[in-house]
Amino acid sequence: MAVKLERIVKKYYDALEEGKVLSRVCKECGSTEWPPVMACNVCGCTDMEWKEISGEGVITNFVLPSVMSLKPQWKELEPYGYGVVQLKEGPEKNVMVMGLTKKNEKEVRANLPYPCHVKIVQRETPVGKYKTAVFELGPKE
């Protein structure tokens, strides 16, 4: 049996602490699952291998936060917007994109898909801290 009970989520967060953003790639059809999960959502195969993502992506659409969607607990990450991002490896997700502002909104929208790159940020909450991956406007340096 190929399926294994393993701590996939913990491995992902542990890697973030080391500055790496991991995915899992299907050995059968080559599809990438990011964030990593147990089975391929394209072909269903459970034979997956771990791989660090390139960190490169494009924003295909976005909105800027307003009253209800501007989160005080994310203040240190401002300015940011909410983007639809496609990774170079294929996956598309709703994610935070740092650096989106009212000032550059027009320019970014006129040039969609606009380059962005993954950024590991530290989250401090009243109950603990951890690192997570968001995105930042502009190409990867």
């Binding site: 659409n61 639809v84 997570t132």
Partner: protein
């Protein structure tokens, strides 16, 4: 577009029909001395027993019931909430199952009941849902005592809808704007055009509920605008009186969360005559298509609706021209545009123009949500889908009263949505 797995649905083993409906007023129970103190059992019991009365049957005739509640622990301090209301519908000892799919719960309650009958296991099944979306139970006190559920607390609780391994920590909050953003991009609307269309949807929703006794709101935005000194209601809607709460959406486009319950009684079509002594004209469930996409997936409402629509159309063979009436669970009001577009109820890309021309109101030729939908009828989360089925049945019988649509309704399409996120597209039709 990312890959979505597809399902082919098969014909029911036997025909299933709706024979009775019940619904409480959608309300903030603790704000009114006459409703303050109402409990889950009373709301579920009223809706369930009303559905049975409507069909002319007694609880002993009902084989099984489904119970829906979106947030039973938070709203009612309940686990296994189906058991907490069991004796309020006169069905002591009969089996039941609780299910919970947030805002899609009611629609999926119909799916569960239809499947249970179509399989041949049960002949008559009640599906009901109750939600306290405004008055929360207080731990340690009887359920007649409740406390207000603030909007801020509600916002925090909606985080529970998303995956806690990854999605919450992608720090994205695009949900309220995702579908409107897709629609605007797909059809090239300007910022002002999409804003006006969403505002107009809210204006129409409130006009629809003025004389609907079950709705939570009975005052139009036209009246609000006049009181604020505006001659044109859309000028009012696009002013600071109606602030933007997302990148696109204004406060008028957001649900009115509240308390309420609704229920629908279903029966094997071949048994309707025997069970109701020929007094009920059944409404057949032609088919139900379903899909689900987790909240981190872009445009999940759009793509999930497409898949659910594909399933139900393939199963029923229904052409969009046959759809007389559309319901869309619109706790985000732009959902009306998505459901109308994908179901084909309104030609692709034309929905916003139909809205601006007033054609989707209850008096229009393409009515959507004549009951007012989630922004005006109210949103008692789990119960809302069954409240829409309640209204659809009343419309199809020609018994919707002051909000009866002008056209004859034989075939209704209901697009359920919610629960981080489920999609459920239902087609029902007057039998013969």
């Amino acid at each position: 577009m990312y890959h979505i797995n597809k399902t082919e649905i098969h014909p029911y083993k036997r025909s299933v029909s709706i024979i009775g409906v019940g619904c409480t007023p959608f309300m903030n129970t603790i704000d009114n001395p006459e409703t303050n103190g109402l409990t889950e059992g009373e709301l579920f019991g009223y809706a369930g027993l009303q559905a049975m009365e409507d069909a002319g049957v007694r609880p002993k005739d009902v084989d099984f019931y489904y119970h829906g509640c979106a947030s039973p622990l938070n709203g009612s301090n309940y686990l296994t909430p189906n058991m907490q209301v069991a004796e309020w519908v006169g069905m002591r000892g009969k089996a039941s199952i609780h299910h919970s799919e947030a805002c899609c719960t009611g629609y999926l309650g119909l799916e569960l009941a239809a499947n249970a009958i179509a399989s041949g296991k049960y002949d008559c099944v009640l599906t009901g849902a109750v939600e306290y979306g405004d008055g929360l139970a207080i731990q340690g006190l009887p359920s007649i005592y409740r406390k207000k559920f603030s909007f801020q607390e509600f916002q925090i609780s909606t985080e529970w809808l998303t995956d806690n391994a990854y999605t919450r920590h992608l720090l994205c909050n695009i949900g309220h704007d995702n579908s409107a953003l897709w629609y605007q991009t797909q059809y090239g609307l300007t910022d002002d055009e999409i804003d006006k269309a969403l505002c107009q949807l809210a204006v129409i929703a409130r006009r629809n509920t003025v004389n609907n006794p079950l709705a939570i709101i009975h005052k139009t935005y036209d009246e609000d605008a006049k009181e604020a000194g505006f001659d044109n209601v859309l000028d009012y809607m696009q002013s600071a009186f109606n602030p933007k709460v997302g990148g696109i959406m204004r406060i008028s486009g957001l649900e009115q969360k509240c308390d309420g319950a609704a229920a629908v009684l279903l029966c094997a079509t071949e048994k309707v005559e025997e069970l109701t002594h020929g007094k009920v004209k059944p409404i057949e469930v032609l088919g139900i298509g379903c899909a689900a996409l987790e909240a981190s997936n872009p445009y999940l409402e759009v793509y999930g609706t497409m898949e659910a629509d594909r399933q139900v159309k393939a199963r029923t063979g229904i052409d969009p021209s046959e759809i007389d009436l559309l319901y869309a669970n619109d706790f985000i009001i732009g959902s009306q545009l998505i459901a109308a577009d994908i179901s084909g109820y309104i030609p692709k890309g034309e929905g916003w123009k139909y809205v601006m021309d007033g054609r989707t109101g209850k008096d229009g030729d393409k009515p959507i949500n004549p009951n007012g939908g989630r922004t005006a009828f109210g949103h008692a989360h789990a119960a809302s889908g069954l409240a829409d089925v309640y209204d659809a049945v009343k419309q199809m019988r020609g018994l919707a009263g002051d909000h009866q649509v002008k056209k004859t309704v034989n075939t209704t399409y209901l697009r359920g949505f919610g629960g981080g996120q489920n999609l459920c597209d239902i087609i029902i039709r007057n039998k013969d």
